[in-house]
Symmetry: C2
Subunit: 369 residues, 2 copies
């Protein structure tokens, strides 16, 4: 596959860390929420092995926040997600599908409850702020909606705990998964969550004070030497092996959350008022006709730039592969696919054409591991 350059401009925003990661050897970017998001520092596979063994610092400033505050903020946030947030607690993160009135996914953010009248929606790649503004204006809600100056640094990998402890003390190890708290560094308070877009463990630092954030960035590399710290980024191999869904890749506005296996984040039996509830009740009653599943393919290589059809023995389309990569762990290509009923059962076989060759594959449950 030929490589192409990325054209930079003010529109595809740099992050406070861009200069640093470019000095540290970033080689490729994508654009995420109108911002540069690193996707490679040389070999994906080297980075994958390193992430699973050591610790990495990631510039994930592209995970922007939509801050919703004010008297009606809880009402607006609830309206936007099919997950019942009535019992949500301050200091906790909530993975929440956001859907439209047709139950189509708009985003799948993590929502942080900062206090009863202030929320951060930590978004995947779509302008949730415009949906929130449209709703708030239409409903005449008393809210303030902004994109605050927050640039997340993720610290990921098994040694992230030791590294973070060295900088922030033992207290940071007390946080539970998807909890967050405030920690001081260089005179500034930082919101830190035990979260991140890998399954190797770690933290996300919501940097509001750019100056202390940059000092913290450097400190992580200084203190991290003994843990073999390296710069990194969400790793395509690791995230697929871990079945962390990517909005726009694995799931999109054409899908509803029940098709995507997000059933446990869909609360239809409570009083929560949200957009698309009626439609979802209807979908649930009728039953879904497609389902997101894992697949394993007897191939050594794949480059996905768009969906690839999955075909049965009769050469009929039975689904589409949406993301995939060679997995060093399974020694074959693994991926995430949307499969039509009734072909979504585990062990169902299929054929797929990759670079003009036909390969055999098999459906499996998610996550792979």
């Amino acid at each position: 596959m030929k490589n192409y350059f990325i054209a930079k401009s003010r529109r595809v925003r740099s992050t406070p860390y861009t200069e640093r990661i470019e000095n540290q050897g970033v080689t490729a970017y994508t654009i995420y929420n109108h911002m540069l998001l690193p996707t490679a520092f040389g070999s994906l596979e080297d980075s994958y092995h390193h992430l699973k063994e050591h610790v990495q610092v990631w510039d994930v400033a592209g995970e922007r926040q939509v801050e919703i505050s004010g008297k009606d903020s809880a009402k607006l946030v609830q309206l936007m997600t099919c997950r019942d947030l009535s019992k949500s607690k301050v200091g906790r993160c909530y993975y929440c599908p956001i859907i439209d009135d047709n139950a189509g996914l708009i985003n799948d953010p993590v929502i942080l409850k900062l206090n009863d009248q202030r929320w951060w929606i930590s978004i995947a790649d779509s302008d949730v702020i415009l949906f929130a503004k449209g709703l708030a204006i239409g409903q005449k809600f008393n809210v303030k909606i902004v994109e605050p100056n927050v640039d997340i640094l993720a610290v990921q990998g098994p040694k992230s705990f030791k590294l973070m402890e060295k900088i922030f003390g033992k207290k940071i190890l007390e946080m539970k998964f998807f909890g967050f708290d405030y920690f001081e560094f260089a005179g500034a308070k930082h919101l830190i969550a035990r979260s991140g877009w890998s399954k190797q463990g770690g933290f996300e630092i919501y940097v509001e004070n750019t100056k202390s954030g940059l000092a913290l960035y450097d400190k992580l590399f200084e203190v991290g030497k003994e843990f073999n710290v390296k710069p990194g980024c969400p790793n395509l191999i690791e995230r697929i092996e871990s079945a962390l869904l990517s909005y726009g890749n694995d799931i999109d506005n054409g899908d509803n959350p029940l098709e995507c296996g997000l059933d446990k984040y869909v609360n239809l039996d409570t009083d929560a008022e949200f957009i698309g509830k009626e439609k979802l009740i209807e979908v649930k009653k009728k039953g879904i006709l497609r389902k997101l599943m894992g697949v394993k393919i007897e191939a050594k290589e794949i480059n996905i730039t768009k969906s690839i059809d999955l075909i049965n023995e009769q050469n009929s389309k039975i689904g589409e592969l949406r993301s995939g990569i060679y997995s060093p762990n399974f020694r074959k290509v693994i991926g995430i696919a949307m499969l039509d009923k009734p072909y979504w059962e585990a062990d169902q076989t299929f054929k797929i054409s990759i670079n003009d060759s036909i390969f055999k594959g098999k459906v499996c449950d998610l996550p792979f591991i």
Copy 2:
């Protein structure tokens, strides 16, 4: 400046023409409305000269459409823009700032009135569809909102008229600027507008039928040989010289349309009901405090990846440069800048630091030519 690769995936969608432009030598992309948008076929300057003399075919499928149809469609479309559309006509394109309740720009699309109950909003790079959906849900409007399968091909340059005439006949030359009509090719009807993101003249073909669109793409190159047709894309030099504003680069949600010189698209004295009207009336009454202007800088080179401060003799910031490029026409760097009052007057001088060297510059009116 070092170059970085773009990471492709399903999320940053390919267009129907991607394979063709890659065979034709595209070298760089940006991402626009979650889609690949070519930004260079080798030298920008060669492409600039070619565009001003001959004809180019552009893959601008990234200019996505938000289709709004139904009983309340006119009401919703009007609500979204500060331009009065009450006298708008079917078959015409309208450049329309879209603003939020704080009068901050959300997008600056061209709106096509397809019929009284069907509109296409041909958007710059932000998810206007989410704003429209939020508003429609909040206001309980009877509308249908979709992103239709439309992938625009632009034919730009002085010889575009002869090329298009050869394919579609004399009738295509009768269209006025910003008019649109339907033309048949390969058995399919194509909406074609006399428009495009250059000032060199030309057309935009709103391809709905991908198959005939691809046949048309090839036909344009076949017939275009005698006009020295080449593949191209919006050209940074030409678009700055022509002062075609780029949302996200020159203007953004922090700006209101009066600051951006868009006064003629702001109708405050009519009955049109739109979001942000009160705020704009207030802004107009108080007078703006910043203004978008052209600048000329005594430098030979610039690469803009974020705003660069403009400084006065006392080393105080008086504005910021948002886009800029070396202009072969003016033999210096020209750009688009937001300047503070009272420093926005033409001929005001300033200093700017580019790659650690200080250069002198001068404010000027837009457009440059």
